[in-house]
Symmetry: C2
Subunit: 337 residues, 2 copies
Amino acid sequence: MIRIAVDGMGGDFAPREIVKGAESVSRDGLASIVLVGDVEKMKPHLTENVNLDMVHTPVFVEMHESPSVALRKKRDSSINRAFELHKKGEVDAVVSAGNSGATMAFAIFTLGRIPGVDRPAIATIHPRIGDGLSILLDAGGTVDCKPTHLAQFALMGNAFASSVLGIDSPRVGILSNGEEETKGNELTRDAHALIKEFRLNYLGYVEGTDMYNGRTDVVVSDGFVGNIALKISEGVAELIFEFFREGIRKSLKAKIGYALLKDIFKEFQKKADYSETGGAPLLGVDGVSIICHGKSNAKAMRNAILLAKKFVEKGLRQSIGETMQDHYQSMQKVKEK
Amino acid sequence: MIRIAVDGMGGDFAPREIVKGAESVSRDGLASIVLVGDVEKMKPHLTENVNLDMVHTPVFVEMHESPSVALRKKRDSSINRAFELHKKGEVDAVVSAGNSGATMAFAIFTLGRIPGVDRPAIATIHPRIGDGLSILLDAGGTVDCKPTHLAQFALMGNAFASSVLGIDSPRVGILSNGEEETKGNELTRDAHALIKEFRLNYLGYVEGTDMYNGRTDVVVSDGFVGNIALKISEGVAELIFEFFREGIRKSLKAKIGYALLKDIFKEFQKKADYSETGGAPLLGVDGVSIICHGKSNAKAMRNAILLAKKFVEKGLRQSIGETMQDHYQSMQKVKEK
């Protein structure tokens, strides 16, 4: 059975919600769980007869602690212990809702990177018009990027979309301010010149609208732009739903209308709800690592663990490794430029 | 009466929709219009008895022409003739739905910049949760920005929000990937250090969600990020409405629900529809210039012309001039750094 280490102390609602989420996966026999953290603090939230492995460490990284300080001073923290288990091959994946900067730092430090990857990227999966799902990367892993980083993100996103989402020849684009080659900024112009050389189904520049209209499978950006893109999306959805809530409060007719449309509202919210997806993989580290929303509840944790399981089953790590190897020559040429 | 030059040849539906929009403003006596363009091509779309001034030039810039080529070879184009009228004081503003890069290039070339402004910015106005409106700048005017450019955008956005939207002490923030000072990229970190020195109601970093949740009045970004932010917003709204359309197609219950909620759907679409706003001002050039969506119809043009009129009445140009002057000392210090 696939074995997953869960950081029991990471997240705004840790350890309670984390333990409950992990327990539910274990109880249903879907994966074998190792809870890492302060056993005295985690235990009260566990049901007696559930069979869960625990690894004890009293140290954990606070939510707003500096990642670089944590990296120096908290090697014994729950998150790093989880990565150490992964490194030793005792688990197949690590899931954490803790400090995402520290999670990334320890993932790189302890697991290392897949050969050919200079910087890892967080990939998010989101709905789009029509069938299927699209990927955005980087959603905030690497803020200041070089062109070679974006080029590597394109390769990793391609591997992710084909291995995990099962998309044959994924359509990959760089997020830009227009489709023409004359658009883009310094970073995207240089990245574009590099990615053109790869054997990818590469669309060139795509616009913000293409993230959701089904035209692209993989949207590539630096972590700064990607994070803004995600938060803007959240903001617009919230604006629209608040506008409807306001209208519904004011009118009986609208209240009845809402009652009849409720299923669709619910369905969309389910589609857009991060707790349904659970988390986002950190691509490029030599293992499977899922970064969850700090506000994750038990349901979100459960889904994140199941996502990790799926990534292990689909061979995400191997797929990225092979893609990077396949493009090793082109990447070397690129770096010499 | 306020006098506005309209580029009769700019836009996907020029000259027909442009002429009709301009005519409707003139007919209602709301502004005095000068239509600039090929008279033979514009005339067929004019109603006989409408009193409109026209300035003839057979040259115009195509929608996808290179702005730098247009700038060299098309000084006689309708858009530049319109700016020349403005420069000579014969009109108070210029409105165009044509090639926005060329419009910007000619605006800078012919009108010049307001002292203290190095790069102009396009400011867009958008709805938010609760009352009022928020501003985003730059929405695509200046793609590769330096920290001083963002600092100037903050000042111009502040002037725009107070003079045109009547907001007392507007809350200004830099769009970033998180609120903490440790977030941001190289550009925003340096811009943040500069803007802190100004006498502004400055919030520091704001996130994508803050564009729409009512926490900020003015959101500052470079033109690359701003343009992506706008297009992502369009994409999310389209995704949500398409999801509802799909659900409504499939279910009678939902059809009835939609009929009852129709007013709210319509109201939101009106709120989000660019043709209701009409266009976005190009801030920082020494005059009033409105850039419209290429797909503008008569209604959008009418609204853009009325927007230009409002900007003239509210003294937008003077307000930006005064703000830049007020902060001249701080800007000089900033530039020396």
